[in-house]
């Protein structure tokens, strides 16, 4: 039996545990640094003693997780948050660089522009003062502001508020996890001025420029709602999707197809690879260019945790061909988590991060267990159709079971229809992604050809929505539940974990008889 080597899994789990403990207990930072150093030192001392060194490595990463978490929450002395209280009343002048893509959302009869500003200076009564930190800016009018612009703004600076008493979701906490502690509104009396252009990262700027160009193609050829969904599925901007349509996807448990995940990244990688194959390039160049374009695509879609996770896993998979070494999926997943958590430990509390990683873990480890059980059913083992149906059923069931507690905790909904809905939605969305990329690609090369793709998208997309609507109308398709506590979520995952351990133990005691 080949023993799988997953060194990064325990490290990532230890780091995550450290972040979690640090958020709950908040131990002293100096003590944590000492403990981390001490455990690493002992680790080095007993490096040849396998069990002791292994345990110490795990322990040191738990402490390291705590150190990273505490460090990420401390702001520098020149952070804008310290000046915010002096600017509560009246107008404030700010200068900074736009560091995100500019969202152009509909607002009443016009539009509002939303983006993240990396603050450089703030105006005090005695002049401009250097400041740092990020603020979320809203300009309540249509502007030509773009990523990389150096702006001077006049408006109101304030702490984010929680929009509604209806929702458990806290907007303030959500922004804080992204390192944004303040908002800035430029209303009717406010002003904006672009002082300099192109101050951002060239690679990122090119990605956002292409994204906006591709979005315009969707707007040109499709109706508003159709374009909003296609932009969400292909380019990662979900904020334009109408709430009632989003709700249909939530009720049928198929909202994952609106988010860019491994599934979408896989199709994108396949399309890039097929296009590159038409050029006279060697295999190595094809793999390297596919990796480059996948990273570019991750930037283009805004770098959400699920996209970064999928891109890292895809890149490791492709790199394994380049290096002629087999990649281990769980280890790749752990590396993706490690990179995302080291970049911002608060990502551990991001819903998208949790759903994305748990679903992939369920597919990697729980789906084979279900397949083993299903394999005992009386069906034709040779039939490819039966195998595909069982695979799809098993993947959907594995993900649904492992995400159920989190979905109830965050959205108070149970969606038994998911397993059936995935059979319908996944083929539709595969076709849509291919058609979407085909349309934007052709529209840039030869616009009249894009019309045929647009007509196909229109029919396929509406057929998919009609199916989702019908599925949501089935009795017991979805059930809204009461809120559950975090403790109940932990109990659920504890029971699930014990169940899996028991299954593995039984398998070890009674190994399957080989022929």
């Amino acid at each position: 039996m080949i023993k799988t080597h997953r060194p990064l899994l325990s490290i990532t789990l230890a780091l995550s545990l450290g972040i979690l403990v640090s958020q709950i207990a908040r131990p002293d930072f100096r003590l944590l640094v000492l403990l981390t150093f001490f455990s690493l030192f002992l680790n080095g001392l007993w490096i040849k003693k396998k069990i002791i060194a292994g345990s110490l490595t795990v322990v040191s990463f738990v402490f390291l997780g705590m150190v990273c978490c505490q460090n990420s929450q401390v702001v520098s002395e020149d952070h804008i948050i310290h000046a915010a209280r002096y600017h509560k009343k009246g107008m404030t002048f700010l200068e900074g660089i736009v560091v995100s893509d500019v969202q152009r959302r509909p607002f009443f009869k016009g539009k509002k522009n939303i983006f993240i500003l990396d603050v450089k200076r703030i105006k005090a009564p005695w002049g401009w003062i250097k400041k740092s930190g990020r603020v979320l800016v809203q300009i309540f009018r249509e502007t030509p502001v773009q990523y990389g612009d150096y702006l001077r703004l006049k408006g109101k600076l304030y702490r984010p508020f929680n929009f509604s008493e209806d929702e458990k979701f806290s907007y303030r906490e959500y922004l804080e996890r992204k390192g944004i502690k303040l908002m800035f509104s430029v209303g009717k009396k406010g002003e904006y001025q672009v002082l300099r252009f192109d101050k951002g990262n060239g690679f990122e700027a090119a990605a956002y420029r292409l994204k906006n160009r591709l979005a315009k193609i969707f707007w040109k050829h499709l109706t508003a709602n159709e374009a909003a969904i296609m932009i969400g599925v292909v380019l990662g901007d979900r904020y334009l999707i109408p709430k009632h349509i989003n709700e249909l996807f939530i009720q049928t448990g198929t909202v994952h197809i609106l988010a860019i995940s491994g599934f979408n990244v896989g199709i994108v990688a396949f399309i890039i690879f097929v296009i590159l194959k038409t050029f006279p390039l060697g295999r190595r160049w094809q793999y390297m260019l596919t990796i480059f374009f996948l990273v570019f695509y991750a930037f283009l879609t805004g770098g959400q945790p699920s996209v970064v996770r999928a891109t890292i896993m895809a890149c490791i998979f492709l790199a394994s061909f380049l290096l002629e070494k087999e990649s281990e999926p769980t280890n790749s997943l752990a590396l993706a988590a490690l990179i995302i958590l080291l970049q911002n430990p608060m990502n551990l509390f991001d819903v998208g991060f949790q759903l994305s990683f748990i679903s992939v873990l369920a597919i990697l480890h729980f789906h084979p267990m279900i397949m083993r059980v299903l394999g005992k059913l009386p069906f034709d083992q040779e039939s490819r159709v039966a195998q595909s149906v069982l695979q799809c059923f098993s993947v959907s069931l594995a993900v649904w079971i492992w995400l159920a507690a989190l979905l109830v905790y965050y959205f108070q909904i149970i969606t038994p229809v998911t397993i059936l809905a995935n059979f319908v939605v996944i083929p539709f969305s595969t076709v849509l992604i291919i058609l979407g990329f085909g349309m934007v690609f052709l529209a840039m090369l030869w616009p009249p050809l894009a019309l045929a793709f647009a007509a196909c998208i229109k029919v396929t997309l509406n057929a998919m929505i009609a199916c989702i609507y019908l599925l949501s109308q089935l009795p017991w398709a979805y059930v809204y539940t009461k809120e559950i506590s975090l403790r109940q979520v932990f109990v659920y995952y504890g029971i699930m974990g014990l169940g899996v351990l028991l299954f593995v133990l039984i398998r070890k005691l009674n190994p399957p008889k080989s022929i």
């Binding site: 509604s164 209806d166 109706t223 009632h244 097929v274 045929a452 929505i465």
Partner: protein
Amino acid sequence: MFPITKQERLVLITFGLVFLFGTAFQYVFKKNPALENIVNVMDSQTIYPKVDINKVSYDQLVKIPYVGPATAKHIMDYRKTHGPFQSLEQLKSVEGVDRGRFEKIFPFLKEPR
């Protein structure tokens, strides 16, 4: 004679099928514009029928996008105290329904008669 690989053939067949179906759909939509409206399920009221604000129950209100339990309760309380809504604009007087929220909710409600 045709030195193309299996993958290239697959791409060409896919492209041909999309082009064929796309052109056929365009032709049908041009000939029967009404059919395009039927296909356009997403913009139709079937997907999300408008509800009467004076007849809607608490459970139905909660299911309307952008209306949560607290806002639904405020709307029900307002209707109980002030009687039926005369116009949708009156919703702005309900606690928790500001201008922004009203703009989001009103596409899902029928104008009271």
